[in-house]
């Protein structure tokens, strides 16, 4: 059903294969957050890997920054319908975090946890194989608090709420445990190309 009198601002056709359905391009970088922006001093920052409730490895800021770094330029897609192309990140691949911890994923799912109480769930297959990182830098600069600094998850092939800001740990879980937004009506997986915005989409 066409909406009376609506023409719309069509996206450039050469970009059609990069803009998922229902999304529109932005040039700025919108900030969304369910609560206050946490300010985490680097000398207090910690990253913890857990298997179920058990911590198995922790890194402080210096130790984490000593891990191998990888650069990634990716398009990102927010469930609120904005997309931003060619965002440039640098951080530590989840593969490299696991390798340094000497851990083979013991389960098929992971919950990412954040300062401020946020969490989000992901299949292991979506955070390994070079698909995801803990990002420390954006466009060549340390990541700002508004965008999740000092460290955020980057899982660019899923809606951006999966790229948890202020990340401070990964927890392997036996089941696919819904995280913060997934408990509040958002899709358990969140593939922008299938428009998996809300539960039942």
């Amino acid at each position: 059903m066409a909406t009376r009198g609506f023409i719309g601002r069509h996206q450039p056709s050469e970009l059609m294969n990069r803009i998922p359905p229902g999304q529109h391009l932005v040039d700025d970088f919108p900030v969304l957050s369910a609560g206050p922006t946490p300010r985490i001093p680097l000398d207090q920052w910690m990253f913890t890997m857990k298997v179920g409730p058990e911590p198995v490895k922790t890194w402080n800021w210096a130790e984490f920054n000593a891990l191998p770094k990888t650069k990634m330029t990716r398009d990102i897609h927010c469930v609120t319908t904005w997309s931003k192309l060619n965002t440039a990140w640098e951080g530590v691949l989840i593969d490299d975090i696991l390798a340094q911890a000497g851990i083979d994923p013991p389960t098929d799912f992971v919950l990412a946890h954040s300062y401020g109480g946020y969490s989000t769930n992901l299949p292991i297959a979506d955070v390994t194989r070079g698909l995801a990182m803990v990002a420390l830098r954006y466009e060549g600069k340390p990541l700002e608090p508004d965008h999740g600094g000092p460290a955020r998850l980057l899982v660019p092939h899923l809606y951006f709420w999966k790229s948890a800001k202020w990340v401070n740990g990964l927890q392997f879980t036996k089941r696919n445990e819904p995280g913060f937004w997934e408990l509040r009506g958002y899709h358990i997986y969140g593939d922008p190309w299938r428009e998996q915005r809300y539960t039942d989409d």
Partner: protein
């Protein structure tokens, strides 16, 4: 980010609503009174997704908060600010007429919500059209929870930009536990106890002193920079970060 998780699933089926009325609220904000074809219940603070479809199938979707109280169902009010470089809001302001049919789905959103059972006191902080989801809370409170104290700090550029100004001032004048504090950033204040500057930490400390007891919940909605300034100020004045929920728009 403490909240109650609503058990209902989001309403993802698209439906239509007829535009019953259009009300100019401020020079940049119009209200659209919609009558959905399938009426629904919602919680104050929730939003709907509106979808416009061009003749060639191109679609644009945007989220708009509901301004009306759940008790006003079946009709809902969306208050939409016209964004100069927008794609959907200019359509609403320039093309939509009474009697038009609009496609939408909802209610959606399970975090920035409040109902009577959640209790108070409440600290509400709104910047510009960020008032909209807070207005649903304020109207809900007036109808079913008038014993819950609310202090609303509302920021606007000019007196004429203050959304729902007359309704809010009338509610304040009832002196029944709803307190309106305005800050108008580009004009001198007009009411006793109001401000004429951007929100800052000392303003938040003073506003918090007007809440009868520590707030149980705080909600802040507006541009990212506004929300950061207000929320950082509230935290500096002793409000626990864990009781503050935010909804933001705009980039940095």
């Amino acid at each position: 980010m403490i909240d109650t998780i609503i058990a209902t699933r989001p309403a993802v089926r698209w439906q239509t609503a007829v535009v019953k009325d259009i009300i100019t609220r401020t020079p940049r904000i119009k209200s659209f009174i919609l009558l959905p074809s399938r009426p629904f219940k919602f919680v104050a603070g929730q939003h709907v997704d509106v979808r416009l479809t061009a003749p060639d199938g191109y679609r644009a979707t945007r989220a708009y908060s509901i301004a009306s109280a759940p008790e006003d169902s079946p009709q809902i009010e969306l208050a939409i600010e016209r964004l100069e470089d927008g794609e959907v809001s200019p359509y609403f302001h320039e093309v939509v007429e009474i009697g038009d049919s609009i496609e939408f789905r909802g209610p959606l959103g399970g975090h920035f919500i409040w109902s009577r059972i959640d209790g108070g006191p409440l600290l509400l902080i709104g910047g510009g059209s960020g008032l909209v989801p807070l207005m649903a809370i304020i109207r809900h409170r007036k109808i079913v929870a008038a014993d819950v104290p609310i202090v609303l700090l509302l920021s606007a550029r000019y007196w004429g930009d203050v959304l729902y100004r007359d309704e809010l001032i009338a509610l304040h004048e009832r002196r029944d536990g709803f307190t309106l504090v305005l800050t108008v950033t580009r004009e001198p204040p007009k009411r006793d106890g109001d401000y004429g500057r951007r929100v800052d930490t000392s303003m938040m400390a003073e506003v918090l002193r007007r809440v009868p007891g520590p707030p149980r919940h705080a909600f802040a909605c507006g541009t990212n920079s506004f929300v950061n300034a207000a929320v950082d100020g509230a935290i500096a004045a002793g409000t626990p970060a864990s009781i503050i929920r935010t909804e933001r728009y705009g980039g940095v």
